[in-house]
């Protein structure tokens, strides 16, 4: 096991403004006409998606980001993942951070399951040789051995999700950033997903889980940050139930 500092994610005074483009004009013609005609001009409005958010995730900790729709929790996840740059403040991450914001990102329907495994894992910065050593585990976990050499356009949505999830949980990240998704498939497969995540956590993986489902956060996380209107309104820990956390 590598020696990482205890704080794997540090979010320090992060603010994120979006510019809302009302009546957005992206064409050259529109820009030129906009110089003369009000109706063609884009109006800009600054929208504060996140304001001065700070928290720390320690090694092996699972933290739930809670809040209603539009409270900024998914934006925060994208900032932690490095996809969006904060307007001010900073995020420090240590170790391998795997964003599980959407399953099967980068899957190409015409490629086979096997080709998509390599393609998808390489988007997360994995070398093909590292994927090769895990390939059999990924296929076994996904229960798709019989279909792995057929194009994923022929997969059912359940098969698709199973493969995507199997890849994500075999990347062995130090921090898993998940947007609502921690299990896919039928009840039996979901159980397997939970077991896999629990075993990764025993090995020191941290989780940042975005959810508006209080029960889901209670099931998986030992602490939580509640956002409202882009601000942290409540933080706390769960004492009681950590059954899945192992």
């Amino acid at each position: 096991m590598r020696s990482l500092p205890d704080e794997v994610v540090q979010v320090e005074h992060v603010s994120k403004d979006f510019i809302l483009h009302h009546n957005r004009v992206d064409s050259l013609k529109g820009k030129v006409v906009g110089l003369f005609k009000d109706r063609w001009r884009t109006r800009h409005e600054h929208f504060h998606a996140l304001s001065d958010v700070s928290f720390t995730v320690r090694r092996g900790e699972a933290i739930g980001l809670m809040g209603r729709n539009g409270s900024g929790k998914s934006t925060l996840l994208q900032v932690i993942a490095g996809i969006l740059k904060p307007t001010s403040g900073r995020v420090i991450t240590r170790g391998r951070v795997a964003p599980l914001i959407e399953l099967g990102v980068g899957f190409h329907p015409e490629l086979t399951g096997e080709e998509n495994v390599y393609l998808n894992a390489s988007l997360y910065g994995f070398r093909n040789k590292d994927v090769r050593t895990r390939f059999d585990d990924i296929v076994e976990f996904s229960e798709l051995a019989h279909f792995i050499d057929t194009p994923v356009k022929n997969y059912s949505s359940g098969m698709y999700m199973r493969l995507a999830f199997a890849i994500a949980v075999h990347l062995e990240p130090d921090v898993l950033l998940a947007d609502e998704i921690l299990a896919v498939g039928d009840a039996a497969f979901q159980e397997k997903c939970h077991d896999r995540i629990a075993s990764l956590r025993r090995n020191g993986m941290s989780i940042v889980l975005v959810s508006h489902n209080e029960q889901q956060v209670r099931d998986f996380c030992n602490s939580f940050v509640r956002l409202d209107g882009g601000r942290v309104v409540e933080t706390g820990t769960f004492r009681t139930k950590t059954a899945h956390a192992g």
Partner: protein, 271 residues
């Protein structure tokens, strides 16, 4: 856990530079392989299609200029191919460059990876398709009247400079097209214009003398003259043509990298 993995700061927002690009070299490979596979999926002739288009073009121009306009230029097919194949490389890469970021918006918005890989993979994809055509030129070279000159040794270096120039243009266009979505239509028109103001199918000295200086300002005129000098005449053009080509390359690459690094991260919000 993590038995053999080297440590890669997967999502470190500051991760950039050559080292992190190298760590993603397999992504580039998988990406290009995917694009080629998908492009020729189910096509019986597969990869060979990338040859058919330039071959038809060359055949038509040879017919029009040798048989209809009665060009007296010796070895006209070689003359034409030396210019046309490199023009094709440029126009295919830049024609596609406007769409690269938009076409990969789904990826760029969900996963962090060095954004430079998007334009790089588009360039590599087009170069791989083009290799077949240029290989054919070198195979046919002696039969088309080409001679073995020492200047041929300069070809790989000039090609690298040409690709660097094209890559710079790609970076600029891929960013600008996100801000001005109709840029790609403008690029199509400009490419058509550039094709005819570049002496590819006709000779440089057929350009009226008072316009030649103006034409020579175009990087494509410079590069076509250099490529044809190497592959057709067996001598490099004047030093000021070479100097112009180098200057254009440096300018395009510097501006492209600057613009891309400056705007690539904030573009995510506009995709």
């Amino acid at each position: 856990m993590a038995k053999t993995l080297e440590h890669i700061p997967l999502s470190a927002p500051s991760a950039g530079g050559l080292r992190s690009l190298l760590a993603y070299s397999d992504m580039l490979r998988n990406f290009v392989r995917k694009d080629i596979q998908v492009r020729y999926q189910g096509a019986a002739l597969g990869f060979l299609w990338s040859l058919i288009n330039p071959l038809v073009m060359i055949g038509l121009y040879v017919f029009v200029f040798s048989d209809v306009f009665k060009s007296t230029l010796p070895n006209y097919p070689l003359y034409l191919m030396a210019g046309l194949l490199h023009w094709n490389l440029f126009s295919q890469i830049t024609g596609q460059s406007c769409d690269t970021l938009l076409a990969n918006a789904g990826l760029v918005k969900k996963i962090y990876f060095p954004r430079l890989l998007v334009p790089i993979s588009s360039v590599v994809f087009n170069v791989v398709l083009w290799l077949l055509a240029i290989a054919l030129l070198f195979i046919l070279y002696p039969f088309l009247g080409g001679k073995l000159h020492p200047v041929l040794a300069a070809y790989p270096v000039v090609l690298l400079f040409f690709l660097a120039f094209t890559f710079g243009v790609t970076l600029i266009l891929s960013v600008l097209n996100v801000l001005f979505r109709d840029l790609k239509h403008l690029v199509d028109v400009i490419l058509l214009f550039l094709f005819w103001v570049t002496p590819i199918v006709y000779q440089y000295h057929r350009i009226p003398p008072h316009l030649r200086e103006l034409f020579a300002l175009s990087p494509l005129v410079d590069y076509v003259l250099i490529f044809r000098g190497i592959l057709y005449s067996g001598q490099l053009p004047d030093w000021h043509i070479l100097a112009m080509a180098v200057a254009w390359t440096v300018a395009s690459l510097a501006l492209g990298l600057f613009i891309f690094n400056r705007y690539a991260d904030s573009l995510v919000e506009r995709l």
